[in-house]
Symmetry: C2
């Protein structure tokens, strides 16, 4: 796989496209119209500057990578010679289905199709391409040059050779490929993170302990860099609220607490300098 | 509080007694007979050597600390002038109740009583002393000089001043005091750890992913030092099996897997060099 097409040049799509180019792949980045493409180009340029500062040894390579990304709003052009198409479109079933139906009709026979969806089971999308055996989920984390994991999740219909080729691609991209053997909502990271966050939320809503106590215990007791409330401050309390408000009664109580104590005061987490904690923060335990 | 009495000189009791002496408290360490006291003395001497190697700046102070621990198998002597009694006896309700009843009858009026129990709610012990308002739980982690948290948990009857004095004592001991405002089984650490371990166990029993994939995701995705299976290997698979076998149907399935794949082969975790992983281990993601 050497020719990669990324559909959607938003926050994560731009990171995938840029990083693939940085790792010497030929990349086509597609978005729906010229305005979206222009916004995508600006994102890629910002990433190039960010790599110079944050990625060891990036230097001139960070600038050069930009030259390996072709941008277009023409979908047929975008996928004409794609070995791998990675979809990073908005998280709506209808949009993704429509997009996969169109690229399925246009792409060469050998193309592999991957969705970066966080919340839609890949089996709900696999038939749209008309080639379910060449379809799977390839899920990146935000700030992928730092959190370099790529969760690879097939469906019951994914061809094992296709699966293996995508695992190999993820490695070539400098990601640690995480193989998920069966379809699992939330992949691995959220399957682990959500029960922890849920337990932490209950300690707060039940007035057992405050966020500092919980975070101190977690860091010192397990050797973690962050406690659960610090993680939520990093993820952002808007997202934390969104997840909790879709949970059970206890979690919805936690969602209300997040809204009343933090969101309504404009405290959204690290991004605004305050959430469960005030930042920058010197934890007690260090 | 300057005179501390520790009841039980086992694994954790010896750490509490030694560390309090190392931090300049006058310590009495009690155990039930001369043989138990001798074993306790040997533990304290080993700790003194361990501090020289592991605790920065310990040096001669590590040896000196031994001189501040008086050992005895006479309970009346042990508590005669105690400001704080910390119970670290075997984890059996009858033993602890009997012990608190006896020290409650012998100790001075100003004595504060603390249990280091991991699993018994302090309210089940508070009446034994005859002074429930002077009773609470003070829970240390194993290897307390490294994992320096002390969870402080009162009951509905604990006097707030007593609670505050124990929080202050924990700080003076160099612990990060973690204040738990209401009685909560499992304190904070296990309240957080068990849901995470449970979720990880399900990913394995449901054949979604193997331990390496789960641990890679957790470390890289959250910045933790260890993934959940690495934590279990550190805790030890005998303990992991014990906890899981007391859980719901899913957890009992995980307990069976631990027994069949690991315990029955003598692989108990880091202690035996192999558990979910083989040690020493170089994680993929680093």
């Amino acid at each position: 796989m050497s020719r990669i097409t990324v559909l959607g040049i938003g926050v994560l799509g731009s990171q995938i496209a840029y990083h693939a180019a940085y790792k010497d792949f030929d990349v086509v980045a597609y978005d729906i119209d010229d305005a979206a493409v222009d916004r995508g180009r600006a994102r890629l340029e910002l990433l190039s500057e960010q790599y110079v500062h944050e990625v060891e040894g990036a230097g001139a390579g960070a600038r050069k990578a930009l030259g390996r990304v072709a941008l277009t709003s023409d979908l047929a052009d975008a996928v004409a010679s794609a070995d791998l198409v990675i979809e990073a479109a908005p998280e709506q079933l209808a949009i993704k289905r429509d997009l996969f139906a169109r690229v399925g009709a246009m792409a060469p026979a050998h193309t592999v199709f991957a969705t970066n969806t966080s919340t839609i089971p890949p089996s709900a999308l696999m038939k749209s391409t008309g080639r379910p055996e060449r379809f799977l989920a390839l899920h990146f984390a935000n700030l992928l040059w730092r959190h370099n994991i790529a969760e690879v999740m097939g469906t019951a219909e994914t061809d094992p050779d296709v699966y293996t080729s995508v695992v190999r691609f993820a490695s070539a991209l400098g990601m640690v490929p995480v193989e998920i053997k069966k379809e699992k909502p939330g992949y691995l990271l959220n399957s682990l993170l959500i029960p922890l966050i849920k337990a932490a939320g209950e300690l707060l809503t039940d007035e057992i302990a405050d966020p500092s106590a919980v975070d101190d215990v977690w860091r010192i007791g397990t050797g973690a860099s962050y406690g659960p409330f610090e993680m939520l401050d990093i993820i952002g309390l808007t997202t934390a609220h969104h997840i909790a408000s879709h949970g059970d009664a206890k979690q919805r109580e936690f969602a209300r607490l997040i809204k009343e104590r933090y969101l309504d005061k404009g405290n959204l987490g690290v991004a605004t300098g305050e959430g469960f904690h005030v930042y920058p923060r010197t934890p007690l335990g260090t």
